[in-house]
Symmetry: C2
Subunit: 317 residues, 2 copies
């Protein structure tokens, strides 16, 4: 097939692009390089089956042009800076919600019908059921990021109903792995590489979160697309484990052979709209035959190793 990957130069987008090319597909990568990295596409760019479009999803005409002849859209582009949402309230809305509206309209105009979308477990707001299933009680949004992704989900579903699209919506926990360039492991490593004896922590370190290793995430996406064929296919993606921020700190410190002094900002939330506990019920995806191969600890260690060997990523942000 010929796939369009939005956010192709990003953490997950570039890894998916490499996998799709390795499986023999043609890929058009679309990225505005606001946070994407050219270096992540070095391997892809050596393939004659890869085409790069450097443009913005808010540029509808460029997007519609890129959609020509596409069989499947992997819509991964997003503002993923969850915790700085209140610093620039329009950013999540423009880059996640309006951008998704443009993707859907460009698909409709170019008669492209299949889309996979990277949503987030943050659409559950502060969950009341743990582990949280896909049909948890109708949530109250607590972050601009969660609200912007939930809005995008709703539009995708409405296009499936109204225009015969087929949608695959994946609600991710935090994804870890090679090419990871934001989030808490990134922040901790950045601090520890600069000052190995000190670590500043948002909140009280007791926030419990679930994480998933990137290749396990891609396994699930590709398996769902191959094996499941409903009009709207909605899956939580995570491990069955959760860990405290404090566990993560211990694993990172041990791996780097450091004993930093820990300075906690305090409070049970890292930032406004942060959820103190995230654990998704992923039985629906497991029912398709998917089994994540890596533990949270594995994912964290692999991320630390990547960051340790690619310190250039810290200078890019």
């Amino acid at each position: 097939m010929k796939a369009l990957v939005t956010g192709a130069a990003g953490f997950i987008g570039s890894s998916l692009t490499d996998r799709l090319l390795a499986e023999g597909h043609d890929v058009v990568g679309f990225d505005n390089f606001s946070t994407g990295q050219r270096k992540f596409l070095e391997s892809a760019c050596t393939s004659r089956r890869f085409q790069l479009v450097q443009n913005d999803l808010l540029n509808f005409d460029a997007l519609a042009d890129a959609m020509e002849g596409i069989d499947f859209v992997f819509h991964l582009a997003a503002n993923a800076d969850v915790r700085f949402g209140t610093d620039h309230p329009r950013k999540d809305f423009e880059q996640n919600t309006i951008a998704t509206s443009n993707v859907l309209e460009a698909m409709r105009v170019r008669k492209v019908r299949r889309i996979a979308f990277s949503s987030t477990g943050l659409v559950y707001g502060e969950g009341r059921v743990f582990p949280t299933p896909e049909d948890a009680p109708f949530p109250i949004q607590t972050s601009l990021y969660g609200a912007s992704k939930s809005a995008a989900e709703g539009m995708i579903s409405a296009y499936c109903e109204g225009f015969g699209f087929q949608g695959y919506i994946f609600r991710f926990v935090s994804i870890l792995g090679e090419r990871y360039t934001h989030g808490h492991v990134f922040d901790f490593c950045k601090q520890l590489f600069a000052h190995p004896d000190q670590l500043n922590i948002l909140g009280n370190g007791k926030q419990r979160k679930s994480y998933l290793y990137m290749q396990d995430c891609l396994d699930a996406i590709l398996m769902a697309i191959e094996k499941v064929d409903a009009k709207i296919n909605l899956f939580n993606l995570g491990t069955d484990e959760s860990c405290e921020v404090n566990d993560s700190i211990r694993w990172i410190s041990e791996h780097l052979n450091l004993s930093p002094h820990l300075n906690y900002a305090g409070g049970d939330r890292g930032w406004i709209g942060d959820s103190p506990y995230i654990l998704l019920d992923c039985r629906r995806m497991r029912g398709v035959g998917w089994i994540p191969k890596f533990s949270i600890r594995d994912g964290i260690i692999r991320t630390v190793e990547f960051l340790n060997q690619n310190r250039w990523v810290f200078e890019k942000r």
Copy 2:
């Protein structure tokens, strides 16, 4: 207080404006007159406490100007043409979702903190629990209209969490009453006034819906704002009854003393994204002390009477 009413020239907006003025409040009415009617504001315009701003919510600067000195925003403006969503896929998104983003940003910039929002029972998609409570299972959106309103709800909640707003979100069933200018009673009356012997009906007439009389709806909104004071206050608004489209046809025909031949288009849905059954659980709002005074039949008859005496409204659309 000084209130801003968006969609002030509309069915519900103009009626709310009249009530707020009667209660002694100052009102700024904001409307682009795309579907609003100047005639509905004739009474309001005689008050020195009323100010009309003719502009579009997509014009951010005009909206921010209108927000100056406002204590409370009633955000009622919307594209309410639910069933033609797939004819112009951007309209719901622009007029409901982007417009709401603008309202919230204009409030934030002008330090206005309280908002009431007219959402819809269609955010539940095809409900699985009847009557449907506010915390029903996380729905799959089935219409562009429902998706656009759900997106707006999510943003309002996120602004409450992130910027100290206080939000009142009301999920309406279909509202009926004087100044009603769209929906099935409007369509039926329009047909019957032109051709009293024939009536064309979308679907099979067996769709069950719930309706609420407009003054009962306004009672609930004003009561909730006065009596409930949480950060986010979310209420279904409807009667505890539902009726079939066929009941509605019988009541309308009896009231007009007509026996039209009924031509059914067939199928269990009136249009793409239509829900064959809507009934909301309104116990939460009743718990505040609200009791709707009018039955569905009362609301339908009052609407027919208004349309019968104001046939000019059919020429305006």
